[in-house]
Structure formats: structure tokens, C-alpha cells
């Protein structure tokens, strides 16, 4: 266990080094948040009868997703792991007396956490002091805050499981583009990153409800802004846990299968 944690720490500390990249990231996230909000404001000013979310809820949703973007977006490829698969260096990894699956989990989570640590607070602070209606509204309800934190922890684990799953699939395809890209973009849309789930057409909402993706970003953020009730929130947390277990088992089994007939590319 200790050795896995040190992978996590290694990646985490390494990720913290890239400060210039973080500044660029913050500006990007901030700018994009502003772009999205401008578009939604224009839509809301045009008016419509029944809207699934209030404008203030939607704006807080956008700021939360922008500030936590580097933790929860699903379009993520770990260059190091992909390269290892492609050039055959994965053979060295297999020689280590550790479980490759858990190692990848720790590496990816460490990398993602280091990124979000650097980017999170500046965006939140600026979003808080913006003039109405562009600002982020925090809630003082302790229960909601508590559940939100639990949900975020679970969603970052769920994110890790999914991202590791892509990389395991790469073991089969030996190509990180093609089918993997299709998988990633579907996951990204269904997680509510491009647009919150309530705006989806009805049948798409039904699809996204039975899949794990929306529990990564759509659920925690909409819960925080008050679009999801506390009861539903607690149920959703249980669903998150179930999905984590399912994805863990699938990933692990696939990995074992892949490694059994792994052909090392190159020498």
C-alpha cells in the first residue's frame, strides 16, 4: 500500500511544478466560464416558459465545473502510460512486484489532484467577487456542503476508474485515438460537462441516468446549487459507490485479460 501512495505522491509533487501551465489553465477556465455564461445569459434573456434550472443556479454550476475542471473532465490521456503501451516499456512495469492497475489509479489520481489544487482557488475567488448575475453563489447550509464534499471525493475516484479503464482498453487497441476518442467524447457529453443534463432531450436524459458518467460532474454540482434535493443526493451517493465498485471490477478483469495475452511491442 505504501508503495502505491508513493506513486501518488510522486505524481502529485511533479504536477505541482508546472505553475506557468497552471496560470494558463486558470485563464482558460475563467475565460471559457465567461463565454458560456454570456451565451446562457443571452438565451435566458430571450425568455422561455419552463426551464429546468434557474439562471443563478446555472451560473454557479458553470463556475464550479470550471474551477474543478482539471479534476473531473474525462478527456484525459496519460502520455506516460500511453507511450509505455506503445513502445513496449510496459514490460518493465510488469516486472515490478506491484499491481499495475492500482499503480495506474494512483498515478492518475495524483496527477489530476495536483492540477486542481493549483487551479481551484483562484477561479473560485474571482467568481465570488464578480458582479451579479455573473457571480458564484455559495451556500451556507452545512449539510449540503458536507454531502457535496463526500460526493466530490467519490466523483474523483469514479473519474479515476473511468480514465484507467480507457488506458486498459488501450492495451487491446494499442491506439489511443479512434474508438477511445469516441468513448471519451461520449463520456464527456453524458457527464454534463458541455451542458447540464436537465437541458438534454428527454430520451438522452434517460440514457445518461442509467450510465455512470453524470455522477462525476452533473450530480455534485447540481446538488450544490440546489437543483437536486438532499434525499436524492444521498441516494445518488450510494449509486456513485456502486458504480465505483462495478467499474473497478470491470477494469481489473479487463486488465488481467489484456495482460495474459499481452504482446510487447518492441524490445
Amino acid at each position: 500500500m505504501k508503495s502505491y501512495l508513493s506513486y501518488f505522491k510522486l505524481k502529485f509533487i511533479n504536477g505541482l511544478q508546472y505553475r506557468a501551465q497552471a496560470i494558463a489553465g486558470i485563464i482558460t477556465q475563467f475565460f471559457f466560464g465567461f463565454v458560456y455564461i454570456s451565451i446562457y445569459v443571452a438565451f435566458y434573456e430571450s425568455g422561455s416558459a419552463d426551464l429546468p434550472m434557474e439562471l443563478s443556479e446555472l451560473i454557479s454550476y458553470i463556475w464550479l465545473s470550471q474551477s474543478l475542471f482539471s479534476l473531473i473532465y474525462l478527456w484525459y490521456k496519460d502520455k506516460e502510460i500511453i507511450n509505455m503501451i506503445k513502445n513496449g516499456n510496459i514490460a518493465y512495469e510488469l516486472l515490478r512486484p506491484q499491481d499495475l492497475y492500482l499503480m495506474w489509479c494512483h498515478k492518475i489520481l495524483g496527477d489530476r489532484l495536483s492540477k486542481v489544487v493549483l487551479r481551484f482557488s483562484p477561479i473560485i475567488i474571482v467568481a465570488l467577487i464578480l458582479p451579479k448575475p455573473y457571480n458564484l453563489n455559495l451556500t451556507s447550509n452545512l449539510l449540503i456542503n458536507g454531502i457535496f464534499i463526500v460526493a466530490m471525493i467519490l466523483s474523483s475516484i469514479l473519474m479515476t476508474m473511468l480514465v484507467v479503464l480507457y488506458h486498459v482498453l488501450c492495451l487491446f487497441t494499442l491506439d489511443e485515438k479512434g474508438i477511445i476518442n469516441i468513448f471519451m467524447v461520449t463520456a464527456d457529453i453524458l457527464s454534463g460537462m458541455t451542458i447540464p443534463i436537465p437541458f438534454f432531450p428527454k430520451f438522452m436524459q434517460n440514457i445518461s441516468n442509467i450510465l455512470p458518467f453524470r455522477y462525476i460532474s452533473d450530480f455534485p454540482f447540481r446538488f450544490y446549487v440546489g437543483n437536486i434535493s438532499i434525499n436524492e443526493g444521498i441516494i445518488s451517493i450510494l449509486i456513485q459507490i456502486i458504480w465505483i465498485i462495478i467499474l473497478f471490477v470491470i477494469g481489473k478483469l479487463l486488465m488481467n485479460k489484456a495482460l495474459k495475452k499481452a504482446v510487447i511491442q518492441g524490445g
Partner: protein, 258 residues
């Protein structure tokens, strides 16, 4: 021109070597950018209009921008990834050849796969044009052609400008992606829907407004002044200084690699 086509053929052959991978990437490119249109369709499912613009009018402005950017990324890929050329030092190699330098940069990398995005943009444009409420006549067709051309001009200009920046900094600047991608994202909508400041920005600083907003007003009959037909051509004025700056930057280029 014939030189360009030769390069194009080589790159195409090169990518077709891996047939399965080519097909898969082709499909996946198509999918990836579907996300953009998905957002629009979702939003218009809930809202009937955006400040008076209908779904198909927005799809038209969207399609025009997507066409321009994907066209440039496909056929002028080399200029988009210019910083790699500089960092690797392979720009020196191009300088030695007795051909137009910009043309060579364009040809250096071609991403044939991205044609699927161009196709996608064309499909969206066709859907928008079939459903849009316009009384077509010669002038309006001209406006539309100008719009499409100007979309290519503006992105080409932006890419060249960004590339000339590499002469000074060696490394490409990440901030430029923020500016180009972010503003591109906004300009996909008719810019009139945004607050005054943005309209000014997209008229005078990055003239996206002339690509798809002012001519659109003429197309759908909100403006009748004939000047609007030619408004997209203003983007040429943007392209010329970009090219000049590129050559100016090249004068002070010192090699970075071996």
C-alpha cells in the same frame, strides 16, 4: 499550387497506409465535434430563439466558423503547429529551399483526417441553408460565398499571426489558444446577442462579426444596405498585415536547433 497538391498527395498516401486506423480516426473526428452541435440542439429544444435568432440562423453562423477553422486546420496544418518546426530547428531546412516559405510551411504537415470535420461543417451548413428563411437572389448568394471565404481568411490570418509570434518566443504561447478558441466559441453565435463590449471586440479587434454576423443580418433581411454584402471582405485587411508580420518576424529569426 501544383507543388501543394503534390505534398497533399504524399500526406494522403502516408495516412492511408494504416487503413483501419484512418477509418476509425475519421469517424472519431466526426463524433468529437458533434459535441458542439449537440449543445445548440439541446438549448434550442428548451428555448425557441436567442434574441430573435432561430436555430437555423445560429447553425449557419456555427457552420461558417467551423468550416473556416477546420478548413485551415486541414489544409494549412503546418502553420498551426509552427512552434514545433521552430523548436525542432527544421525551419532552417525550409529556408534553404528556393520556394515560397509560407507555402512550404503550409505543406509541412497536412492532416487529411480532419477533412471529416470539414465535411461535417458542410453538412451543417447545408441543413441550415435548406431550413433558413431567406429569399435567395444573386446578391444573397454572393454574400454567402463571401462569408465562407472570409471565414477561411480570418483563421488563416490568426494562425499566421500566432506563428509569427513564435519567432520572438520560440515556444508557442498557450494564452493564444485561450484567445482564439474562446473567441471562436463565442463567435459561433450571432455576436449581436452579447453585451456591447463583446460586439465591439468582435468588430474591431478580432473581426469575427464581419464573417458571420453583419452579412447574416443582410441575408435574413434585417439590413438592406448593399454594403453588408461586401462586409466579409474586411477580413482580407486582417490577413495582409498578418503575412507582413510573419515576414518581418522571419528577418530576426535565429535558429534554435541543429
Amino acid at each position: 499550387m501544383s507543388l501543394y497538391f503534390k505534398y497533399f498527395k504524399v500526406h494522403l498516401k502516408c495516412e492511408l497506409e494504416y487503413k483501419m486506423s484512418f477509418i476509425m480516426s475519421f469517424i472519431s473526428q466526426f463524433f468529437v465535434f458533434f459535441g458542439y452541435y449537440f449543445t445548440i440542439i439541446c438549448l434550442f429544444d428548451k428555448f425557441s430563439n436567442i434574441k430573435g435568432f432561430s436555430l437555423y440562423e445560429v447553425l449557419l453562423t456555427f457552420g461558417i466558423i467551423q468550416f473556416g477553422v477546420s478548413f485551415c486546420e486541414t489544409f494549412f496544418r503546418g502553420i498551426d503547429t509552427f512552434d514545433e518546426l521552430i523548436v525542432e530547428g527544421s525551419f532552417d531546412r525550409l529556408l534553404l529551399r528556393p520556394r515560397n516559405i509560407l507555402l512550404q510551411v503550409f505543406c509541412d504537415k497536412l492532416s487529411v483526417i480532419r477533412i471529416s470535420r470539414v465535411l461535417q461543417a458542410i453538412i451543417v451548413l447545408i441543413i441550415a441553408l435548406i431550413n433558413i428563411d431567406v429569399n435567395w437572389n444573386i446578391e444573397k448568394v454572393m454574400t454567402l460565398i463571401f462569408m465562407i471565404l472570409s471565414s477561411i481568411f480570418i483563421f488563416l490570418g490568426m494562425f499566421i499571426l500566432a506563428a509569427s509570434y513564435c519567432f520572438y518566443t520560440i515556444k508557442g504561447l498557450e494564452i493564444r489558444n485561450v484567445l482564439t478558441d474562446g473567441s471562436k466559441n463565442m463567435a459561433q453565435y450571432p455576436i449581436g446577442i452579447f453585451k456591447k463590449g463583446f460586439v465591439m471586440f468582435f468588430t474591431f479587434i478580432i473581426p469575427f462579426g464581419f464573417v458571420n454576423y453583419y452579412p447574416l443580418l443582410y441575408l435574413i433581411g434585417r439590413e438592406t444596405n448593399k454594403i453588408f454584402i461586401f462586409s466579409p471582405l474586411i477580413t482580407i485587411i486582417y490577413l495582409i498585415p498578418s503575412i507582413l508580420i510573419f515576414y518581418l518576424g522571419m528577418k530576426r529569426y535565429t535558429s534554435a536547433g541543429s
